[in-house]
Amino acid sequence: MITKIIEFIENFLSSGVPMSAYLIVGLIMFFAGVYGFVTRKNLIMVLISIELILNAADLNFAVFNRYLYPEQTEGFFFTLFAIAVSACEAAVAIAIIINIYRNLNNIDVEKLETLKEPDETYREIIRS
């Protein structure tokens, strides 16, 4: 019984990694990101979820390139550029979050009702 299980595991491991295994890893990462994006109310948590989603997409580009068209490089370069774009997006989003925190003292999605910079009287009302 135990030898059979060990044999099965050895066969499973020595047969190489199928493409679908990589895709399923990306799938789990993506939907974990979707779950966080829908439920969490903290802006930084939303941003973390977006990073997860983007990373899953990047991984899939690389996997498709490597398995289906190994002599070409489109997926590789798309991943490269997507990483750069996501770095940009994170930097600007964090600048916005810090600015919101400075003005409203809060980064909860539900409590953000204004995009405009509050004037002094409004700021006093929020602080009190």
Partner: protein, 167 residues
């Protein structure tokens, strides 16, 4: 054999920590779990033979974006502070949504992608070929996107400073 073991270990790490990252009640822990997920993905790039992507992923994500995240968390929260739990109804709805999505896409993947199972053996991209592809203007070469990314980065720097500076 050894590749498979490394792959399944990395896959388990990514799956567990990506779920933990979106469900943790403490922000700083979420950021740490996200770091583990990103490093796991970098490991997968190595298994695929894309060493340059591994380097970029490690430097840009694990080195750059994570530092930004930790800065932002420490500027806006007390480190020991817990965030309140979201309402149960909303969480169940999102859980349902995610599972439906996973079942749908997973079904498609398992039923139709199964046939391609082995990694075609080809040598990994040499740095020279990579540089030539990035700098060329022919078909399948990427000078224009490269320049666009540089302009985008500049715009980002200016925008981030404009938004975040003190008035």
């Amino acid at each position: 054999m050894i590749t498979s073991i490394i792959f399944y270990t990395l896959a388990a790490v990514i799956a567990v920590f990506s779920v933990l990252a979106v469900t943790s009640q403490r922000l700083i822990r979420s950021a740490t779990f996200l770091l583990f997920v990103l490093l796991g993905a970098a490991g997968l790039y190595v298994l695929l033979g894309y060493y340059y992507l591994f380097a970029v992923q490690t430097v840009v994500y694990a080195g750059g974006i994570m530092v930004l995240f930790i800065f932002a968390i420490l500027l806006t929260h007390k480190p020991s502070e817990k965030i309140a739990k979201e309402p149960l109804k909303k969480r169940f709805l999102a859980l349902f949504l995610s599972f439906v999505g996973i079942a749908f896409c997973g079904g498609i993947i398992v039923s139709s992608v199964k046939r391609i199972s082995l990694l075609a053996s080809s040598e990994s991209l040499s740095p020279q070929a990579l540089g030539l592809t990035l700098m060329g203007t022919d078909k399948y070469q990427y000078l224009l996107p490269f320049e666009l990314i540089s302009v985008l980065l500049l715009a980002c720097i200016v925008g981030a400073i404009m938004i975040a500076r003190k008035r």
